[in-house]
């Protein structure tokens, strides 16, 4: 037996607790649906003057919504999760971890932007959606393995399936990307809702308060 490994396992529990109620997935699902719908709208609606304003506003809205999502999850946890299973304040990520996350996000955004830029009409257009799907799937698979959460592995499979399946069915990467996030959002919303339902059933409010 290795005592050190057991302590590592204990140290991972609060991390898993973040996802125990399905709320982060549910909010993430809503966010992805918003992103998908936002990128689909210009392709679906007739072109006009609104497009210039829309193109300026949408990036701001998307970035803001991403930043607010974490706050929303915490608010929901205060109302739903903490009274049932206990309050936790997670450690803020250190500077090295923040820099690493920002660097990873920049690399991912750079790859997708580069592919999108060079493939407006070119032969690499077919690579944009599979690349985006693969990158999202890799991130989800990482979380699934690190926190031992099979639901995230399911979402990773969905990301790969959509990433490689949509180009065959659609053929225009702008629409494919929107559909990819729409599909992922719906899947995430579904797994999150199922998890939340199970959590609420298995974790009733305590009858008596703590000491």
């Amino acid at each position: 037996m290795n005592g050190s490994l057991d302590l590592d396992e204990v140290a991972r529990r609060p991390g898993r607790y973040w996802n125990a109620d399905g709320l982060p997935e549910t909010v993430m699902g809503g966010l992805w649906i918003l992103w998908g719908a936002a990128s689909l709208l210009p392709s679906v609606l007739p072109a006009g003057n609104w497009l210039a304003v829309y193109s300026t506003l949408v990036p701001v809205v998307l970035v803001t919504s991403g930043l607010l999502a974490n706050r929303l999850v915490r608010r929901l946890k205060e109302r739903v999760t903490f009274p049932r299973a206990g309050y936790v304040a997670w450690k803020e990520p250190g500077a090295a971890r923040l820099i690493g996350a920002c660097a990873a996000a920049a690399v991912v955004a750079g790859i997708v932007a580069l592919l999108a830029a060079v493939s407006r009409q070119g032969p690499t257009a077919a690579l944009v959606t599979p690349a985006a799907g693969t990158l999202v799937a890799a991130a989800l698979a990482f979380v699934a393995a690190r926190q031992r959460l099979p639901r995230f592995a399911i979402l990773a499979v969905v990301a790969v399936a959509l990433g490689f399946g949509l180009p065959r069915a659609v053929g225009a990467w702008e629409i494919e990307l929107g559909l990819l996030f729409l599909g992922l959002g719906l899947a995430s919303l579904a797994t999150g809702a199922v998890r939340l339902r199970r959590f609420l059933r298995s974790t009733p409010l305590p009858q008596e308060p703590g000491p």
Binding site: L7, V10, R13, P14, G15, F82, G86, V88, P206, P211
Partner: protein
């Protein structure tokens, strides 16, 4: 202090070495702070048992207890003190060093 890991083992912190308290310390080391209910659920300890261990950890200066209310509900928030984090880190290093020596 001797560099021999076997000699260091004798100096293991007895307050942390008790399995239930080690579990509580490990849980608190992984978060900024947590409440009593979370620790009770994650550790599987009874209310009385957990309270007893927390008193010992508080007396050792490893855990800080803050009693308050959230709305009308009593809330006991617990966090490791800097001394507690240092002691837990030292305990882990000593133990893993010894286990590493003992292997093979």
């Amino acid at each position: 202090m001797t560099a021999d890991p076997l000699h260091q083992l004798g100096g293991l912190d007895r307050v942390i070495h008790e399995p239930s308290r080690l579990l509580v310390m490990a849980l608190l080391a992984a978060v900024k702070e947590a409440d009593f209910l979370f620790l009770q659920r994650e550790s599987g300890l009874t209310k009385g048992n957990l309270s007893g261990h927390l008193v010992k950890l508080e007396e050792a200066g490893y855990v800080e207890v803050e009693k308050g209310f959230r709305g009308r509900v009593p809330l006991t928030v617990l966090r490791l003190t800097p001394a507690g984090r240092k002691a837990y880190g030292g305990y882990r290093r000593t133990l893993s060093g010894w286990l590493g020596t003992g292997r093979g």
